[in-house]
């Protein structure tokens, strides 16, 4: 009798070399997929969803691409996961992290083929990663002291981030926009406070940052369209029919007249509520929930601007900018904090009417209005801007800055190479491999730009042999250039996260020597 099968039907098991091969192949395939989007001359991908409508997304954001893929290979899933975490944690470098992890695995594959044990490779990679991080730490620039220099750092970072995206045409403009928006946050990383409104039409250049706050809502009929020196009450309360919340309550009447009476009482209740609200001495009322016609009419009579159905985010932001509190009861008007702003008016962007609050008290929140030719452009523009905003807000907290354009990779590669030369034993092969994987990133950037990567990287390596060199790849002119002069910078935090999580992921995949796949859960066919 042969060895029993110990798994359930359909479950599969892959061992040793085969398992390792499966995970290498999966990871490298994912890397090759996103590789071409890296760098300023990276290409975009079209993603078509399988859902209804077959919606199309055009993007070169690594996290977005990987998120939309349906992957079966477990190693590939690890890579997708690190990219997602990178997106959540620092916002940018989502492609780089996958590419670096993939390159590390590609190098590891060669080492494994040369009969070096995965554990040896891992310990080599660990030493190399530590050394690379220290190399970066030594060369990091920190301009926390001077506000002006720091601002220019931020500008450079924003421009570098944006240059690989669809916004690269107007990167100076958008970088300015992003830096302004982030500086208003004053160190908080709460990007919720920056609202991005997308309106198709016009060109990307017509996008603007608004100091005040724009609410994508209409003003109720018959109410003033322009209020100066507004006192705003931000509320979250039912303004349709105020239900009786006591459980089990119901209306039971025995005649029509009683119905009318109760209806009257209900109306009276609403009228009282409106009176109470108006008694706060306000001239603008913003509610998260619906406002029915009756109370709206009452507000209009009192000359109060009433805005209904502002969503959760809108309410929170509005409360943040105007300094008012979100109210749900209205019995003690003296203690409710009202929001203030100088001017509320209806404005037109494209064909839509929006409500614009300007001259607000607290400058923390702001609105960016994006204009563009199509929805796809706008979506991609939003993603790009989001990346830039994330990076900037992280940089405000951790002000250390590095040069870009492959400079950090070359610096790390150089140090790691040194280490490899000093390390005895098989580990040194792994360390060397790590440095090769690092160099792969500038190579890919150059390749994507259609440049002679072999030549450029060799030049770059030679340039980096000198101490304190700032050389990196200048994709625009297609040569090696001084990154300080070109103003290409990246945030240290992003680079560090890329380095650490890529190494961690590679290590994780390398340690595996067996893949056990359970039988897929049977789903009933919903055809």
């Amino acid at each position: 009798m042969a060895i029993e099968k110990i798994f359930k039907d359909d479950a599969s098991e892959e061992k040793g070399e085969r398992a390792r091969m499966a995970s290498f192949v999966g990871a490298i395939a994912i890397t090759d997929l996103v590789k071409t989007t890296l760098g300023p001359k990276g290409m975009d991908k079209i993603l078509q969803s399988t859902g209804r409508g077959h919606g199309v997304t055009v993007t070169n954001d690594g996290a977005t691409i990987l998120k939309s893929l349906h992957i079966d290979n477990p190693a590939a899933k690890v890579l997708i996961d690190i990219s997602k975490v990178q997106d959540d944690e620092v916002g940018d470098g989502t492609t780089s992290v996958v590419v670096l992890a993939g390159e590390l695995l590609r190098e590891a594959e060669k080492l494994v083929a040369a009969k070096i044990h995965p554990m040896t490779i891992i310990s080599g990679y660990r030493m190399a990663a530590e050394c690379a991080r220290n190399a970066l730490l030594q060369r990091v620039a920190d301009n926390k002291g001077s506000a002006e220099k720091f601002r220019s750092d931020l500008m450079k970072i924003a421009m570098t981030t944006l240059s690989s995206k669809i916004l690269s045409q107007d990167k100076v403009y958008f970088a300015q926009l992003a830096v302004d928006a982030v500086m208003r946050l004053k160190g908080s990383t709460n990007l919720e406070a920056i609202q991005i409104i997308k309106k198709p039409g016009g060109s990307l250049r017509d996008s603007f940052l608004d100091e005040g706050f724009i609410l994508d809502k209409k003003i109720g009929l018959g109410q003033p369209k322009r209020i100066e020196n507004a006192k705003i009450l931000v509320a979250n309360t039912a303004m349709d029919t105020d239900k009786v919340k006591i459980y089990g309550a119901r209306v039971r009447v025995d005649s029509m007249s009683k119905v009318a009476e109760i209806e009257g009482a209900e109306k009276e209740k609403m009228r009282e509520k409106v009176q109470k609200i108006i008694a706060h001495g306000i001239n603008c009322f913003v509610n998260r929930q619906l406002i029915y016609n009756f109370p709206e009419e009452l507000f209009a009579d009192a000359g109060v601007l009433a805005i209904e159905h502002a969503d959760f985010d809108g309410i929170e932001r509005l409360a943040l900018v105007t300094g008012g509190e979100i109210a749900s009861t209205f019995d003690n008007p003296e203690s409710v904090k009202l929001g203030h702003c100088d001017l509320i008016e209806e404005i037109m962007i494209g064909e839509d009417k929006l409500i614009h609050f300007s001259g607000v008290e607290m400058g923390q929140a702001c609105t960016i209005v994006l204009r563009g030719a199509s929805h796809h452009v706008l979506d991609e523009a939003e993603r790009s801007l989001h990346d830039a905003l994330c990076v900037l807000s992280q940089t405000v907290n951790d002000t250390r800055v590095l040069f870009g354009g492959g400079w950090p990779e070359m610096v790390m590669a150089k140090e790691v190479d040194e280490l490899a030369r000093k390390t005895p034993g098989k580990k040194s092969h792994a360390i060397e491999a790590f440095s090769r994987a690092l160099v792969a990133i500038p190579t890919i950037i150059a390749d994507n730009a259609g440049l002679d990567s072999a030549d450029l990287v060799a030049q770059l390596r030679a340039a980096h042999h000198k101490e304190g060199c700032n050389a990196g790849i200048d994709v625009i002119s297609g040569s090696v250039g001084d990154m300080a002069d070109l103003g290409i910078s990246e945030s240290f935090k992003v680079k560090q996260a890329v380095l650490l999580s890529a190494t961690e992921a590679a290590e994780m995949i390398l340690r595996v020597d067996e893949i056990i796949t359970c039988a897929p859960r049977q789903r009933e066919d919903r055809m």
Binding site: E4, I6, P74, T189, Y247, A319, S501, V512, I515
Partner: protein, 535 residues
């Protein structure tokens, strides 16, 4: 399949649907069972030791787990064979009882089965083998007691504990910062341990994880973290000297359990009901305020109105807090869980030195830290790491380390690791074997051989020559009569485990041997397998 025949050779029908079943009996059944058990052990064999490899497990829903924790691998493996299921159970019971050594126990059982197979082929009765194993396991356990060492530790001297936890962690992916994690685990266990009673309630240690950051950022929080934020965005984000009201009743009008209806038929009734309703909310909030609470933690949701009233009266609140967390908060802050507003009193409030909200990353991800609690007996280990699988694996590793630390507090005897204890037991069992007359002698000797398989697997996984290394260590142990020599997995240069500070708990090792023997005995006793054939 047929069980019995009449004189013409026609089968009797004895079992229900007899012709659809298959039957294995005698030696064949035992061999089939043994090969299934061995197959499971073989899967885990490569995960043993500091240089052990990981496995990727893909669940039926396509989720990926990467681990080298024996219990987790077996649990998720979706095994069909009954004997293989016994092995899974074996690893699980080691996990429940000890928490660590889940891989070792399966490898041990696999080795015992392998040895038994050889003895069966020689014609030794399975029951005699089982009895021999039983005797041998008793010898081994006694011998372990004999070579074990007690060591002292206290609240100030935690070094021995940390070292033991490091041995556990070194076989996991987190071994990059094992020192850091081991210290965290030991401190966590010590802060909840009852040193008088020598007991540790591991429920008091909460292990939380959040992706992002790096493994080194993992921290021990003397308090509780809750994955929630304040119910109203404008409530204060930081409260010092908080007095916490812990409620399990919602800030909503009461819902009596009995069915009832409130009929509204006149205008007056409508209005009184309305007033009543407003009063409810007001009363609830006022009650909390009256007893002096500065923070409300509630298991249920709030009505919008209640939320605003709380905000208005400057009473920060957290809603939708899970039951387990609520209990932990109550323990940590020394408060009582209050099921009704009427029962809220000042004495029932919990106290915490600092409550703060902390946000992570670029998404709107917030957590609530409750620190400097009145009763610091509840602690939280907060894990950070590059990706989800890493966090999950770290959680499992920390769990193992916590269990080890707990076992040491219960019983502070240790044996040296690196396979040294197994080798020493093997020598002792081998020596004892000669004293037994009868067939059991062979079984006892086989047991000694099986014990060797653990250090052998260790050596194999570390890339050493298994047979050469093992025999060298064994002869060294006998020559110098020193049970501390083991396999030098990390290439440190010495194989004295005392110098390498590699040790494991005595009860863990004893349990491994006992459990493995028990399961093997059970498998050996089966001589007939009747299974419904495939339909």
């Amino acid at each position: 399949m047929a069980l019995a025949f009449d004189e013409y050779g026609r089968p009797f029908i004895i079992l229900k649907e007899q012709d659809q079943k298959t039957r294995l009996r005698g030696l064949e059944a035992q061999k089939a069972n043994i090969s299934a058990g061995k197959a499971v052990a073989r899967i885990l064999r490569t995960s043993l030791g500091p240089k052990g490899m990981d496995k990727i497990l893909q669940s039926p829903d396509g989720d990926v787990t990467i681990t080298n924790d024996g219990a987790t691998i077996l649990e998720q493996m979706d095994v069909d064979n009954q004997i293989a299921k016994l092995m899974v159970e074996l690893s699980r019971s080691q996990d429940y009882e000890i928490g660590d050594g889940t891989t070792g126990v399966v490898v041990m059982a696999g080795a015992l089965l392998e040895q038994a197979e050889r003895l069966l082929e020689r014609g030794i009765h399975p029951i005699r083998i089982a009895e021999g194993y039983e005797m041998a396991s008793r010898i081994a356990v006694e011998h372990l007691e004999h070579i074990s060492k007690k060591f002292d530790f206290g609240a100030t001297n935690i070094e021995p504990l940390v070292q033991t936890c490091m041995t556990t962690l070194s076989s996991k992916i987190v071994n990059r910062c094992k020192r850091h994690l081991a210290e965290i685990s030991v401190k966590a266990v010590l802060s909840v341990a009852d040193l008088e009673r020598k007991d540790v309630n591991l429920d008091m240690i909460k292990v939380e994880g959040k992706v992002g950051g790096k493994l080194e950022d993992t921290e021990l929080i003397y308090g509780i973290t809750v994955d929630k934020d304040m119910s109203h965005p404008q409530m204060p984000k930081q409260i010092e000297d908080a007095k916490i009201a812990i409620l399990t009743c919602p800030f909503e009008p009461p819902k009596p359990k009995t069915k009832h209806k409130v009929d509204i038929d006149t205008v007056e009734k409508f209005q009184t009901l309305r007033l009543q309703e407003q009063k409810y909310f007001d009363d609830m909030v006022q009650k909390c305020k009256d007893v002096g609470a500065t923070l409300v933690i509630c298991q249920w949701g709030f009505d919008d109105e209640a939320n605003h009233l709380l905000m208005h009266r400057n009473l920060p609140a957290v809603r939708w807090v899970g039951g387990v967390e609520l209990e932990l908060i109550a323990i940590a802050t020394g408060g009582r869980i209050v099921p009704r507003f009427q029962e809220l009193t000042t004495e029932k409030l919990g106290r915490a030195g600092l409550v703060r909200e902390k946000s992570f990353g670029t998404t709107k991800d917030k957590m609530l830290y409750i620190e400097h609690c009145a009763n610091s007996r509840a602690v939280t280990i907060f894990i950070r790491g590059g990706n989800k699988m890493m966090i999950e694996e770290t959680k499992r590793s920390i769990h193992d380390a916590l269990c080890v630390a707990r076992n040491l507090i219960r019983n502070n005897s240790i044996v040296y690791g690196g396979g040294s204890a197994e080798i020493s037991c093997s020598i002792a069992v081998e020596a004892a074997a000669d004293k037994y007359p009868g067939v059991e002698q062979y079984a006892i000797r086989a047991f000694a051989d099986a014990l060797d398989s653990v250090p052998m697997a260790l050596a194999e996984n570390s890339g050493l020559q298994p047979i050469e290394t093992l025999s060298a260590v064994k002869s060294q142990q006998i020559k110098e009569n020193n049970p501390h020599y083991g396999i030098d997995c990390n290439d440190v240069g010495t194989n004295d485990m005392r110098q390498q500070d590699v040790f494991e708990t005595l009860i863990g090792k004893q349990q491994q041997i006992l459990l493995a023997t028990q399961v093997v005995k059970m498998i050996l006793k089966i001589d007939d397998v009747i299974s419904p054939s495939d339909y």
